[in-house]
Symmetry: C2
Subunit: 582 residues, 2 copies
């Protein structure tokens, strides 16, 4: 062992002990007669002192050669510091060095290894191993480990069994794009990497393994939006002989446990709203409920006058911005510009100031009187001093726009405190969603989700209205988990495949094994999957998942550190029975 103690361990109580430490040189201060070195390891920083009067001369000489990030080992004894540093746990002591070994030299790192570094994102990614030396990144990785340990312990204590499902599986065109793996031993054939262990966990239910979980890598070959990764980690779960209520209870329990153990936050029973209600109240299926600004639908109280914009709109809807009545004209104009940006896409915004004297001042005073505006304030629950922001247009679009505005304003108003946690179940998701491109309905969750029995009759008449036994767990405006009760009989599954446009042959080729399995006695079952990267980031009070992944890829799916992907040998291609087609 190269050390007797870590660099975060020594206290006043260790005074006069002989110790051996090893770590990295964080910084050196050479005052001629005395050299101080901050020695760093994973556990902290300990100050070393090389004192010409008390340290052997050749050791002092060697200390003068130390550069940033050199790896060294020292022996010495623990002494009291003359000027204590109360900012670090080891601040009472320092090590009077008697022996120094340079274990490895270091060239100057491309950015500073400090909490606040001068390295940009690209540089930090290329030298990720140096970035990991920094406390913020290191602590995120340790935090992630703590979360997964808690998840495993909680589920295992509840009799869940972690079962590893295969990574080399079969490609299924439904859903996102698969990454595929050419098979050398099976010419012209390919494995696919799993987008999720969905079918395998269902087969485990058929196999009687009635409480399954797995913390598992999943893969999607998507064009990467910001903060998406081609490989990501899921907490994947499934239960048999359960209803939706049972699944929600268990995973609400897990989430409550994590909030308590990891963040020391106590949560009451999580509120639940339906998808329809979420869309109506927040314009969003993953609403952030840490703050209000609920939507007020204003059609009834706006469409009785000559204001054509509102009269023509499918939906007129507003929110009350706390304290917004004090915004200047310029500030409001900027807000209007903000909602008109292409990313939001509103055509304009109507506003009403709720003045301190109880009067209203709106941008549509020409059309509406004080009584009208008072009605609007009532519907949007605006108080004196608030600003009502109103958008109108096609229902789905205007809801998305107002939701974006609501989130933006909450950010500006500091209402999204990362250390406050507001979990929420959104239930009764639609079974199907219309896809403009292919001009047909797709499974909103996936083709294995069961429709609510009472809605099945709507499948042909009003497919968009069929609700599923599907649910999402939302935390602070982020979907952190989603799941459903599954279809567990061949007939319904066949119906669903048929409905989604699979021919019987296609269904059989892709999912025959699952349909077969259902014939041999499948229990009712359902489950959920949490996005671990996102969950950890949010619990960590941050929103960027990349900061919680040891070796993330960039937006082109590249690992810039190892420079992958890369070309491979022609011999390799030949063995795999493929050639490039550029």
């Amino acid at each position: 062992m190269y050390r007797s103690h870590s660099c975060g361990e020594l206290r006043a109580s260790h005074m006069n002990t002989e110790v051996t430490l090893a770590g990295w040189v964080q910084k050196t201060r050479d005052k001629g007669f005395i050299i101080w070195v901050d020695l760093r390891d994973r556990y902290g920083i300990t100050q070393l002192i090389f004192d010409a009067e008390r340290t052997p001369a050749q050791v002092v000489e060697k200390a003068k050669t130390l550069g940033r990030e050199f790896v060294i080992q020292v022996k010495g004894h623990v002494i009291e510091r003359e000027s204590k540093n109360t900012n670090i746990p080891t601040g009472d002591i320092e090590i009077l060095v008697t022996e120094l070994t340079i274990l490895n030299e270091a060239i100057v790192p491309p950015f500073t290894i400090e909490n606040e570094t001068d390295g940009g994102e690209d540089l930090r990614m290329k030298y990720r191993y140096l970035d990991i030396r920094r406390n913020p990144v290191k602590n995120n990785l340790i935090f992630r480990h703590q979360v997964t340990m808690q998840v495993r312990q909680y589920l295992s204590d509840k009799n869940f069994i972690e079962v590893e499902t295969p990574y080399l599986i079969k490609s299924t065109p439904e859903g996102a794009r698969d990454f595929v793996v050419p098979s050398r031993m099976n010419e012209g054939q390919f494995y696919a990497l799993p987008q999720s262990p969905q079918t395998f966990k269902q087969l485990l239910m058929v196999g009687g393994m009635d409480k399954y979980f797995q913390i598992v890598k999943c893969f999607r070959d998507e064009d990467l939006r910001a903060d998406r990764q081609p490989e990501f980690t899921q907490i994947d779960c499934e239960m048999a002989f359960v209803t939706q209520e049972d699944v929600l209870t268990v995973f609400e329990g897990l989430t409550r446990h994590l909030l308590k153990e990891i963040k020391n936050v106590d949560c009451d029973e999580f509120p639940r709203i339906t998808y329809a209600e979420a869309m109506q109240t927040y314009g969003n299926d993953k609403p952030d409920i840490r703050f209000g600004m609920k939507f007020g639908e204003l059609n009834k109280v706006t469409q009785h006058k000559d204001f054509k914009v509102f009269n023509d709109a499918e939906l007129v809807v507003g929110i009350a911005v706390p304290g917004g009545a004090s915004y200047t004209r310029k500030e409001i104009d900027k807000l209007i510009e903000w909602v008109k940006r292409p990313q939001v896409g509103a055509l304009g915004m109507v506003y009403v100031k709720c003045n301190d004297d109880g009067s209203y001042k709106s941008s549509v005073d020409k059309f509406y009187n004080q009584e009208d505006l008072a009605q609007w304030a009532k519907v949007t629950k605006a108080q004196t001093g608030d600003l009502i922001c109103i958008l109108s247009g096609q229902k789905n679009k205007v809801r998305a726009q107002l939701s974006a505005l609501r989130m933006e304003l909450a950010d500006r108003l500091g209402l999204r405190n990362p250390e406050e946690f507001a979990p929420l179940w959104v239930v009764d998701f639609p079974l199907l969603e219309w896809d403009d491109e292919t001009e047909r309905y797709h499974a909103m969750h996936h083709p294995f989700t069961s429709p609510k029995p009472e809605d099945i009759t709507l499948l042909n008449s009003k497919p968009g209205e069929v609700r599923a036994n599907a649910y999402d767990l939302v935390l602070n405006g982020n979907e952190i988990g989603g799941g459903s009760i599954r279809i567990h009989d061949t007939a319904t599954q066949a119906l669903m495949f048929d409905y989604l446009g699979f021919t019987p042959d296609e269904a059989k080729a892709q999912f025959g094994f699952l349909m077969d399995a259902f014939q041999y006695g499948a229990p009712p079952h359902g489950g959920i999957a949490f996005g671990l990267d996102r969950l950890v980031a949010i619990l960590g009070g941050q929103e960027t998942i990349r900061d919680f992944i040891a070796f993330p890829k960039n937006n082109n799916g590249r690992d810039v550190m190892i420079d992958a992907p890369a070309a491979i040998d022609n011999d390799q291609l030949k063995e795999l029975h493929i050639q490039l087609d550029l």
Copy 2:
């Protein structure tokens, strides 16, 4: 919830309770007036009784339609059994059923869902979800979960951090064949699936994350020998600022912990032998030391007579088989045939019976007298009643042959008790091994393994004799873990790459990131990786890893259940910039 209790839970103390159970129909016995049904779930079996006098008539009628593996839910109350079944924990009670719901019907399964099934290997693999319903397979998967929970808890308690390393990495021709993944976004380029997280864990050490572990899938595109899987699971570990001794201590601790917690077996300090000693004493670098039959080298006491076979041999070596003197001539002939099989490859076998009267009877009495044979008995530590089996020839070959014979005989003699555990460290592995095919030395472990400093000078003169700081943990004749202290400086790593035939450009292209990293202050580090599949199988008292994998692949790398790999669409190929080359 479909049930109030599991099928393994009810006892006499539950008598008269109203319960709801759900599960699979294991079997039915219809006696006309009374029908008994064994209901099974993951937790056990509970007997249901449908009694024409006490159960509603329509329920009895429905019970008559039940077939094997139907999924049902029943309500009823717990009553005392007339004839108790002491073989199962629920054997004191049965459920007098009042309500019966058929949750799902089942067609007749292709094999019986019993501990001893009538299904062959192929059928069981195709219907793995049914195989998992059987206790032996189900219990293996639960056992695996318990082992991994213990591993994680132990290492986490010792301050190890589980860090997820990427699955989409870069192909490196060194070592086994990679599985590769064409990149859609980076034309003509490929990711590779990791054969192990080796370089990433070393980078984590450079990053200061000084105790790392991960239970992780690894991939090797090898021609599959029996009981190898293209994807397999590793307990992957690395530590910084450690010597070999530290690594052995920690992972001996882990192994001892597992043996104690999982098997309730106490182990003393694990014995250690060098690779050279293992080869000399057991002809094998993973010796099973649950039994003796150590090799006795007989050159000195055999090469002084006219027996040309021995005189010409590089090595004459024997083992004493306990009680083997009683073997008949026929039995011994069969043994000789066995060693002459192509899989073993010996040209013949000399034997000596150590008779009860102290005399010896050998197959080479023509050449050797009683005194000679007594010497042989002394060297092989043969006792009265033993049979000495002697092979001769080229050293490495004859050692492998005698090792095979030793294992075979131990099996026959019942000396390999799967519930006895004999761990062993094998240390001081050679750094390099000669490869006949490429006619050069290869890294025996991998190119990152550090040579013993005192042996470095031998690199040019006697490369085969350079020892590495490399070690294996052997359990009951199986290598369950292997590791090494790594090179941690650029110069030695460059020397090693050069020695292994990499040009500087190749080394840079493939491992440039690691060489770069070493320049920024790499600590001394080393680690180990355990094969989880094998470890779990051995702890489970079995040797077939497939039985401990939920969804294994066959020897052609196929998943016969989902029928993967499979052809993919031309559109998919096009998007990936590849075409088939058949």
